[in-house]
């Protein structure tokens, strides 16, 4: 009984929220990209690059917020490359994404060694922020009001993006592009611009997610530190039926699984820690299997679009 309390205490949920933020951020970006018809398998690489960029920028400037900007910038840059490859060159979006992942892994590993020379350099990072008044309330306080600033930023983004996608004309335009780009084009919507913008936004959010990993969770850059979170984000998008709120909830679910695993480890329970580390991936696997066939992606997802005129 004692163990249950220790396991499922408030701090577990707070940890779950914290661990889910990078997934949420990356997934929200992917929601927009996929709603515009672009599948971005390269999220993993963009997160990794974002993490790297954030560390570099923070290292050079001493300011974690500059670090975040650095991460967002690099993520957006890769997003632009993916957009160009997918939209202009009409390369298979899956191949382009995979190539970006390969490239990002190689580049970040190499550059990190090059710049940091095998040292684990600590950089300026985010400390948890206690929101006044709110953080003193029992239970609610530690659960919601004692997170790093980035957490609040991401939650704000979730709310705003949900409004934009479903309540504004911009959202209608984006969704029309993802469903039937020809129809959108015919209605006078600038399909190319929307596809580019959403893909770059996806990259930027992945970069933001990466920044979170390296500046909030860990304070440094580790080889391949995204550890598959990008893939989990892709699943969260399907889980959330391509809507920001649902996606955020799905990401939270995965974050909680990871938190439970870590907590069980910390409590010293006799479960091998490798199996606990396996949990998030196992959970994602089964959730994904259960989802497929019950959800309907945007109709033109991953299909190359050709503007009729040349």
């Amino acid at each position: 009984m004692d163990i249950i309390v220790q396991l499922f205490g408030v701090s577990l949920f707070a940890a779950g929220i914290r661990l889910s933020i990078p997934i949420i951020a990356a997934a929200i970006g992917e929601v927009f990209a996929e709603r515009a018809g672009i599948l971005n398998i390269g999220i993993e690489g963009m997160m990794l690059t974002g993490a790297f960029g954030a560390v570099i920028a923070s290292y050079l400037s001493g300011n974690p917020w500059i670090g975040v900007l650095g991460g967002i910038f690099l993520g957006g840059l890769l997003g632009l490359i993916h957009a160009f490859a997918s939209i202009h060159l009409r390369i298979s979006q899956i191949v382009s994404g995979i190539a970006i992942n390969i490239f990002a892994l190689g580049a970040t590993t190499t550059l990190a060694r090059l710049i940091f020379n095998e040292q684990r350099v600590q950089v300026a990072a985010f400390k948890p922020l206690a929101v006044p008044v709110c953080s003193d309330i029992p239970i609610i306080g530690p659960l919601f009001c004692q997170h790093a600033a980035l957490v609040y930023l991401v939650i704000l983004i979730v709310i705003i993006t949900n409004l934009v996608l479903f309540r504004t004309t911009l959202g209608l335009s984006i969704r029309s592009v993802g469903e039937n780009p020809k129809a959108a084009e015919s209605a006078g919507i600038n399909v190319m611009l929307i596809k580019y913008a959403c893909t770059v936004f996806g990259g930027m959010m992945a970069g933001l997610a990466g920044s979170f990993l390296s500046l909030v969770q860990l304070n440094l850059f580790v080889d391949n530190m995204s550890a598959g979170k990008g893939w989990i984000a892709l699943t969260a998008v399907v889980f959330g039926r391509w809507g920001p709120i649902g996606t955020a909830l799905g990401s939270l679910l995965f974050g909680m699984v990871e938190a439970i695993g870590l907590r069980v480890q910390a409590l010293g329970l006799p479960i091998p820690h490798e199996l606990l580390l396996m949990l998030p991936y196992l959970a994602t696997f089964f959730v994904f299997i259960g989802l497929v066939g019950r959800t309907r992606p945007p109709a033109s997802l991953a299909k190359p679009y050709k503007r009729e005129s040349l």
């Binding site: 490859a85 390369i91 490239f103 892709l234 091998p272 991936y281 994602t284 497929v292 066939g293």
Partner: protein
């Protein structure tokens, strides 16, 4: 009517081979920049790299040894991609293959060498094939997207092996977490004395040839290509799509499994969770660079093997870090993908004639 074969060789095929080569050269050129920034002479660096990869029997042995696992995983991924399946699962499949092979080697006592090796290799193939059949079945039956399932299975396989080598299979007195060493009877024969080059390399070469024959000259290969290109038309033509998917994932998984088992009984002799520095993911790079063809995979694997062998020498002799190899690899894949895109675009512009129902 044999001139059509000659003509085929001269046509797109040749052009297609040119592109990866060009991408490699471009990647080498671009990678010269960071080398220069580090204050070293790129030409000298590349020369040392070349020497380090093919300068002498020992170095060639190192190159080929490093290329061997990539040959297997490259073939694995190329086969899957060619059949329209974006399987990213080579890494997990090779881990499971390594597990199967190691267990066979350790726990089948008393078998004479040839039989033990065969059993081990077979076990590796089977374990890998099973790990490939899981996402294969899900795709065939429920159309579950294979990208996500294979990736998750990679992590699951890794942590499972990790659990085993830290726990039940661990050799207690060892410094690191790994299994007992496989008996001598299970170790693959070495091809060049003084190197680590093992018979697995020959097996890989044989498989390159077999894959080529499969794709070009068999009905099964024809079906795989057809389903990979257009499942709907293939279904109408009478092909069994589900069966094709299962066969592909089994073969692909098995090939990756071979990468795992040959690495253990050929080089490392113990199963650990760090035995693969990402051979499975490298296999994807190799497949992309090799345009999903067996010949291309051979070329790309040899190149990557040479790159890595040469890079460590380059680091020792000139001080240019060996991870430069990673950048070159990444760039090469990048350029190849962009290059294929541009080529397709140009081909499309030329054949605009098919968009219009023009007069005949």
């Amino acid at each position: 009517m044999n001139n059509w074969r000659d003509r085929t060789l001269k046509s797109m095929k040749f052009q297609g081979m040119l592109l990866p080569v060009l991408s490699l050269l471009l990647a080498l050129a671009v990678s010269a920049i960071p080398i220069m920034l580090a204050g070293k002479n790129p030409l000298l660096a590349y020369y040392e790299m070349l020497l380090g990869s093919v300068g002498g029997q020992i170095r060639i042995g190192v190159s080929l040894t490093k290329a061997t696992p990539l040959l297997f995983t490259g073939l694995s991924v190329a086969l899957a991609f060619r059949s329209g399946l974006f399987s990213i699962g080579a890494e997990g499949q090779l881990y499971m293959g390594a597990l199967g092979g190691t267990m066979a080697a350790l726990y089948l006592p008393g078998l004479p060498k040839p039989l033990l090796i065969t059993a081990s290799i077979l076990a590796g193939f089977v374990f890998g094939a099973i790990w490939g059949l899981i996402p294969g079945y899900l795709k065939a039956r429920h159309n579950t997207n294979e990208i996500i399932t294979t990736i998750m299975l990679n992590y699951i396989a890794f942590w499972f092996i990790s659990f085993l080598v830290h726990g039940p299979l661990r050799e207690p007195s060892a410094m690191f977490s790994y299994t007992y060493e496989v008996p001598d009877a299970a170790k693959l024969p070495i091809l060049i004395k003084g190197t680590q080059l093992h018979a697995g390399f020959l097996l890989a070469l044989a498989l390159v040839f077999l894959t080529y024959v499969l794709i070009k000259h068999t009905s099964l290969g024809f079906q795989l290509r057809s389903v990979g290109s257009n499942p709907e038309a293939s279904h109408y033509a009478g092909m069994n799509i589900s069966r094709n998917i299962l066969v592909t994932m089994a073969l692909s998984g098995g090939l990756a499994g071979l990468a795992g088992v040959t690495e253990i009984i050929g080089v490392q002799y113990r199963l650990s969770d760090f035995f693969s520095p990402g051979f499975g993911y490298d296999g994807i790079a190799v497949a992309l660079l090799g345009a999903n063809t067996p010949g291309g995979v051979l070329f790309a694997s040899l190149f990557f093997g040479m790159l890595r062998a040469g890079a460590s020498v380059m680091q020792r002799r000139i001080g240019v870090p060996s991870y430069t190899a990673l950048i070159i690899q990444g760039l090469a894949v990048f350029f190849v993908v962009i290059g294929f895109g541009i080529r397709m675009l140009r081909a499309e512009k030329q054949s605009k004639i098919t968009v219009m129902e023009g007069p005949q």
